[in-house]
Symmetry: C2
Subunit: 680 residues, 2 copies
């Protein structure tokens, strides 16, 4: 590396350079210089991960001229690999090509160990590949009666000698298969080694005879109260191979978090029922997603979870009863590393490891930590409010100086639940709504078609799915448009057909409903927005807004620079309508950004990058938690936020005419089921 008479090797894009004796393999030079060049087989010409592209000719920038014979000739190993698997022309295998004279070597992105997994969303961070579990190909010494040592100890020695992995451990299950696998592979094996964070000893999770080509995979799971969403990622290159979601089967024990806590309180063993239910669903989900990606589920070596505190405790089998009452004490808040078997996750590899992100507080979960990992408010130079809307909303507000977090019990209305015509976001659901301010006539779009309901061909385009209901983003737009069109007043009251002047308003008891679509003549449903729907949306949005205000109070600010909407719902919501409704504080419309499933992205980051686990564990310690349930101002903000402020057309207040239910927030009810009192 230092003798200037030796050939000079320059690696791009890193720019690392050094002198190496003629005959040094390119891979060896790269390793000695600390160049990021991948290899699974350790330079044996098997894995082809170390492909490089030599440059020939003049490189004035680097001050070198590269001769055609700067590298050793194309050899039989390379020829065999290329003829069998194919290789881009001009590429060489770094372990085969030897340095003969000055040369410039480019390492293409796919040959980098720590390759970036490029994300689609422009706002989001890249993920650097550095997964906890990686594959290593090793050749193990055969046993020798004169120097007796166990097969495991010789495997450990091979990993130490050939890969620098010291202090290897293995579970009994691995030990049970070790001897047959070593012999089947003729003492050559591919080993999946897991490194935990916190200096945990490296551990063999599994091993396969010879050089393994089937790969290893990981699951990033966002375990929500209502839905469980998972990404299946290739742990070698970070690609998402499949994504899938299922309903959380705990819904049958209670729609929202607090009703599940109540179920556990009221029913001895109820927590265990809910634990068993979600674990069974997780196994099913792992099976489904693996099948979809044509991956053997036994090749899933890691699972990362993000979830709120109640889901967290129920996943781990901890009775969540303490989370149902002040002081909302968590059994444990720190991140956890576990065996998948401890969670009965038997669909994945027997020795798969689980990482659960840390919780922030009794009401602010690992899902919120994952959002922080993905959206990084702690690094923001502007003041950002991040809203992750699920059955509970998690809010983060702050910048690089200080970040606050809270949770707000919005209930499931934003997900289309507890809405008369509500449904999950699925084909056939109304997702976009416009109401003509003059005629009060609606037009809408349904999931599965790009057409509006008054476009030609709409009926044909939706014939397959039908028009079945209204999803979360649809109800937001419907209520906001009703307000803009003057169908609803600032207090949230729907006017009558006479008051508003449209036959779309029908009386139902003492209140009125707005008919969005009526297909009863064809045997279909009548899709309406009822007064109850408006109230549910008002409760949900008031809780959300009050949470944001509380954090802003604590930060002593009265506006934010940017709002990030996270969550599946956040991806579809219309910023304009959200602001009309008063869900989020006012900011310029172009400063409302959708981050997609940020919690899921955070889970994926923790799955693919070990350092991110340390990072989020550090970050959550610095996030200040605000407990909405005991903060009197939350109640004040909640009540104040009940109105729907942004009518663009003036409209007479209707509350003078009809007596209205008044809304009061009851924290122990935990959601959209606020206590209601009649006003006389």
């Amino acid at each position: 590396m230092t003798d200037p008479r030796d050939p000079l090797v320059i690696f791009t894009p890193s720019g690392k350079r050094g002198h190496f004796p003629a005959g040094t393999p390119v891979l060896t030079a790269a390793r000695q210089l600390g160049v990021d060049l991948d290899s699974v087989c350790g330079g044996r010409g098997i894995c082809s991960k170390c492909q490089i592209t030599p440059g020939y000719g003049e490189f004035p920038k680097h001050g070198v001229s590269v001769a055609a014979d700067a590298l050793s000739d194309w050899n039989a190993v390379e020829e065999r690999y290329k003829s069998k698997r194919g290789m881009i022309d001009g590429r060489r295998l770094g372990c085969q090509a030897r340095i003969q004279a000055d040369v410039v070597i480019d390492v293409p992105p796919e040959s980098q160990v720590h390759k970036q997994v490029v994300r689609k969303a422009a706002t989001a961070r890249d993920i650097i590949m550095d997964p906890a579990t990686r594959l290593y190909y090793v050749e193990v010494d055969e046993p020798d009666m004169h120097e007796p040592s166990g097969d495991l100890e010789r495997l450990a020695k091979a990993l130490s000698d050939q890969w620098g992995i010291a202090g290897l451990t293995a579970d009994l299950d691995v030990l049970r298969k070790l001897q047959p696998v070593l012999r089947k592979g003729a003492w050559k094996v591919t080993v999946a080694v897991h490194r935990g964070n916190h200096d945990a000893a490296p551990r063999v999770l599994d091993l396969w005879p010879g050089f393994d080509e089937d790969g290893i995979y990981g699951l990033a799971i966002d375990l929500g109260s209502t839905t469980v969403a998972a990404h299946l990622c290739d742990l070698r290159d970070g690609r998402v191979l499949a994504s899938a979601g299922v309903m959380n089967p705990q819904i049958r024990f209670g729609e929202d978090l607090m009703s599940r806590v109540s179920y556990a309180m009221m029913n001895p063993g109820g927590d265990r029922e809910m634990t068993a239910a979600v674990r069974m669903a997780l196994n099913g989900l792992a099976q489904t997603i693996a099948t979809e990606a044509a991956v053997d589920p036994a090749r899933i070596m890691e699972v990362v979870f993000v979830c709120n505190p109640v889901m967290h405790h129920l996943l781990l089998g901890i009775d969540p009863v303490e989370l149902g009452q002040a002081p909302f004490a968590l059994a444990s808040s720190d991140a956890m590393s576990l065996d998948a078997a401890e969670l009965d996750l038997n669909a994945v590899n027997t020795n798969a490891r689980v990482y659960v992100l840390p919780l922030i507080a009794g009401h602010v979960g690992a899902d919120c930590a994952a959002v922080a990992l993905s959206e990084e408010p702690q690094k923001a130079t502007d003041m950002v409010l991040i809203v992750d809307v699920g059955t509970n909303a998690e809010l983060l507000c702050g910048n690089r100086d200080r970040v606050l977090a809270c949770s707000s019990p919005t209930g499931p209305a934003f997900e289309g639940a507890q809405i008369s015509s509500g449904q999950r976001a699925a084909p056939g659901a109304i997702e976009r709504v416009q109401i003509d301010p003059v005629t009060k006539e609606p037009r809408f779009r349904v999931i599965g078609s790009e057409l509006w309901s008054d476009d030609p061909g709409f009926a044909e385009a939706t014939a397959q799915t039908g028009i079945t209901g209204i999803c979360g983003s649809g109800i937001i737009e419907a209520v906001a448009e009703m307000r803009i069109a003057g169908v609803v007043d600032g207090s949230g009251l729907i006017g009558s057909a006479e008051q508003v002047g449209t036959p779309r308003l029908v009386a139902e008891g003492r209140t009125h409903s707005y008919v969005l679509h009526d297909s009863r003549a064809e045997g279909g449903p009548r899709i309406m927005v009822t007064q109850g729907d408006i109230r549910a949306i008002q409760l949900a949005k008031s809780a959300l807004y009050a949470g944001a205000r509380l954090l802003m109070d604590e930060l002593a600010i009265d506006k934010v620079d940017r709002v990030v909407l996270a969550g599946a719902f956040g991806a579809h919501i219309s910023p304009k309508h959200a602001m009309v409704l008063g869900m989020i504080p006012d900011v310029p419309l172009d400063k409302v950004i959708s981050a997609g499933n940020a919690a899921g992205t955070g889970a994926r980051i923790a799955l693919l990058n070990l350092a991110a686990r340390d990072e989020i564990e550090r970050v959550v310690r610095d996030i200040h938690k605000v407990e909405t349930a005991i903060e009197p101002r939350f109640q004040e903000h909640f009540v104040a936020a009940n109105a729907i402020p942004h009518a663009t057309a003036p409209f007479p207040e209707l509350s003078k005419v009809v007596s209205l239910p008044e809304v009061s927030y009851n924290p122990s009810s935990g959601g959209g089921e606020g206590r209601r009192r009649r006003r006389g």
Copy 2:
């Protein structure tokens, strides 16, 4: 500690001394000086472990004079403890008594954390109490909504603040009970914390509300091919509360190790059957021994195992097939730390930890490592041969310069098996034999009576048990005495009644048997030593002797200074008869020492002293293993050792008269079942 104007405190027996401000509790002073003074409650006057004895008057040796009021007055906490539990007069509680003037404080042995567990056998080492699992009483902060952290994190903080235990971890099972236990104990709990060796993170194994008084226990288990022996120890003071043994139920799959390996080879799933059988027996044994000691088995927090390699693999659920053929590759040879649950040991605490001592080689097990831990040949200044006789014999030979080990397949003859009238050492078994060299008449003793068979009252004394057979030590003495009395010749052949001149010899086919006792008239058995018995003993003793010679060859010595007989059998064997038989090399009779169950003692040391685990892991790396199965000289020694050398009376060789089976050692048969060829 340094201001000479402060009172001087001198601790005995350590001699540690320092100056402390008036008012300092004695326990605090002891801790600051590093004096070994126990405390479980952390100085709260609950546990009474910190009892000390202040000395008053003149101490010329220490140069101090102690006034009657050198310590604060006897207080209410001490009075309450003394009246409730009793305390020796003159004792004080170290956490209550405060230093007021110069004082000399004696720490009695029972107040020392690292108290010695005194052993009965004079030759053996003491055990210093330093168990991996200890109890700690802590007071935990209550949860605070404004500073949210999990209950586990606050428990960890308490253990760190109050006991200096950093980096605490806990399994899910502990986490599940943590919240109710903390609340039941009003935030005061006693925690069982396990520290592994190799810098493993401290782990909570269990916890109980308030100050726990029921204690924690450990099992030291010697898992032999034939018997499983266990000691139940109190992990607080090291006392052995009960000892118990059961037959290894794997016997039904094969008497000796190699026949069990064969069973696993021939029967798919056979290894799993044997694993399940031994684990079930271990659970039963844990139950039995806990019941005997009136201890809740759920209070057993640790289990230490010593066993030979085949038992080791079958215990761990590893197919032992590789141990049945050269090169006898172990799956793993290093020591192992496991959860008891991984071995299905559900009779003990759910979170109990298991430590398995390291193996030395494919034929030399953790039992041999345990013997080394107990008998310490690696520290000997004389040349010692340690023989642990079981179904397989383990031999250690050497001194502090070098220790060699080997295993020799003696078969079960020494345990009374494969002997025509053989039986286990149990009441009714003949254990001592003498034969009159002139009359050839025997006298004997049976287990359960101190009388010889020709003593008055013998018949009455043995009426209860009867005379049922002959145990291992009995058959050794019988064969040796038969040789001394000229009943058997140097080749091992039994003479006829005519040749020897006694009607005790009866013809059986072409060979003869010697009748030791005949109670057929009373419906009892006829107890004989047959020619087959002599051959079985010859095979066993030849294997043992050949192993010893092989080690001596390797050490280039032709005699040893001392022979240690370990194992239950070793405790009962007569050194003289062992030497007559040629089981062990010649040494002065007073240099043959019985070490009792040294493997069991080694297990107990590893149970009670964490440093001993590091020590034995280091020691086994330095023990050189000699593989008998591939060493041609073993075969030579084996054949040469076949004769029974030490007849004190000359006797004509009988082999000229009767054709004899010749014995050839076949290593793969693994025991007393050597291949035999007829000589024409």
